[in-house]
Amino acid sequence: MKKKLIVLLLVVALVGLLAVSVVGCKEKDEFKIGLICLHDENSTYDKNFIDALKATQAKYGLTDEQVLIVTGVPEGDACYQEAAKLADAGCDIIFADSFGHEDYMIQAAEEYPDVQFCHATGTKAHTEDLPNYANAFANIYEGRYLAGVAAGMKLNEMIADEEITTAEAKMGYIGAYTYAEVISGYTSFYLGAKSVCPTVTMDVTFTGSWYDETAERNSAIDLIENRDCVLISQHADSWGAPNACEERDIPNVSYNGSTESACPDTFIISSRIDWSPYYEYVIEQVQAGNPVAHDWVGTLENGGVKLTDLGATAPAEGTAAKIADEKAKLIAGTTKVFDTATFTVAGETLTTYMADVNSDAAFTPDTEAIADGYFQESVFRSAPYFDLSIDGITRLNAMF
């Protein structure tokens, strides 16, 4: 036993000595950015953040030492620890990408008042009201609406080719959770498709995970084979669904980035959030010593919402022109995605709806969201709060 203890002590002492020599090197005082990611580049969601940050890094000519990317950070105390470590390493701005990171980012923001903390998809910046804590999101529902237009064009083409009847124009959608971000996303996608193909219906299924390749794949297969869906889209981060579509030759509208490399025959289009305008905005505000807005929203106009190029073979003819047309209308404000004239809830046109904008434990609805004839999505805070179940969309399961 004694010997073991001695050995243990020796090892600890050795490691300690080496450590002291390392601690000696002090970090230089230069501009630094940190990014905390839930997964890594294998997840399309995180890849989107990482790629945008790399682009921003190249634009400002920053070194790898100045732009730190921490991957695989769970939504727990580990997030706070990593944020604090980045602050200790001299970061001036720290971003986090996952919804569950929010409370830990706020905790770190309170402890490091000189560091700007920015959290994507979060909901609490406007109520916490900290000078150094901000939320950001994008009007991705506009991007999804346009992707939905491309899907509707494809359905119209299938009807014209007599592959399906108007009644068989049914889409399938794989979502992660029954959470406003997902609901807002699939509803806008559906409304986009409906704007060009009025008879379209949609089945939605949920996997209960942001990244579960097997579940996403199996859900896609189920929608295609058992629910007769002729077009699939998804809001989850693996390539499970697009790959399943490619194998079965079912057109797919993707999210977070192009899946054309693996699915050349079935890829139609993908919408995604481009975070580089946000990174640039925050960097410029912080360097100029100006405050960062509590809520920042990416739009088609400021480049926060992007559509990828159309696929080479799958999209219907004339899709590109139609999308350009619709995009101009969205930017001009003449088309509203959640125009209450275009959808009904339980057969009724919506005239009033209290949304849960200010976070509280009981999820109390607190803000009137219908005004000027449309649902005011991402106006009162950046993160989505549209969580209505509209007619034409069937939720197959709602357990998540």
Binding site: M1, K3, K4, L5, V7, L8, V11, V12, V15, G16, L18, A19, V20, V22, V23, C25, C37, H39, D40, E41, N42, D64, E65, L68, I69, V70, T71, G72, P74, E75, G76, D77, A78, Q81, A84, K85, D88, A89, F99, G100, D103, A176, Y177, T178, Y179, A180, G208, D356, A361, F363, D387, M399, F400
Partner: protein, 402 residues
Amino acid sequence: MFKTKREPLFHLVKRIDVSKKYAWAVRIGAFLLSILVCAAISSLLTDKSIGFFFKYLFNGTFGTKRTIWNLFHETAILLLVSIAVTPCFKMKFWNIGGEGQILMGALGCSVALVFMGGKSSDGATIVVSLILAFVFGIAWAVIPAFFKARWNTNETLLTLMMNYIAVCLVNYFIKSVASSSTGTLTFKDGLVEPIGGNQFILFIIVSVVLTVLMWVYLKYSKHGYELTVVGESENTSRYVGINNKLVIIRTLILCGALCGLIGFLLVSGVNHSLGDATVEGRGFTGLLISWLAHFNPLAMGLTSFLFVFIDNGASQVSNYARLGASYPKVMTGIFFLFIIATEFFINYKIVFKKMKLKEISSNGDKDIDKEVKEPQENDIDIPKDDNNAQEGITEMIIKEKI
């Protein structure tokens, strides 16, 4: 001796009387070698130098005050998990449900926090959440123990499957109390306050105290003796008048209570939240740690420390070299591979054709035919199979085997 088949180029011989000095030299050598291999692989597969690897390996572990605290905090959590499952293993009850038992403890704690947090006093909430964590953790450990004691069911399968049930229960609970959440519940009231403003110290103190207590319990208490005998041979234990069923259930209650405590500390003291990934796989890593340390609580401290050292250090290397989230897992995998292989070289030696003659002359005929029978089982098994049960027990009780 008549030779009936061709002699292989080399064969393996079990070492008799392995000295502790030799064993520890091999282990420490293996650890250092594993670090070197990690460094070599990292620099070969990336454009970074070996110096870069070591710089950030130490920077991520001993770089700042926070990383040092973090290192010992993570070590303490992992150590406590290994401590919790150790009595089961010593009893040869293959409880691989540590993950689920801790998660249930976390769930029990969360139930109290949801229904009492902010409504009752913090003190009352903490007491109730601790009690519920104990109850839930114990329940999840006692169910397989009862089935094992009553019907001799396979505890490995049962405990494994119950992990998944625990995950589902946690998700169900979160969904039912917060319908619009994305899989995590967060808590604000009724939590354990950090001791002296240091959020790390609580886990470290609890872990050290319980490690020492567990060491005493296993080595000097009657309970510890009984569970070792039950693990060694159920017939022997029956013969000496030990109630096997009682011992199995009692030991699993202890294990469940410790797991419940860890769940409580993780929710109330560390994360202040509940999700199905709250335990972060430590329940499984803890098993390996316990095994590798041969169920010796003090050795577990060292093994946990080395594991966390590599894990945290490699994470930092990964952050600075942009290697992704899998990189630290590859590095800890290499570490485990080396340490497990070490056990093989401690227990066996490779004898080549020529060497064999010498061996025979020095050891007599004893070793000749003792080719390896299932090294995977033997190399991590403490009591030697060739001893009979009675001898094995005595050996284990008299001198602690490493």
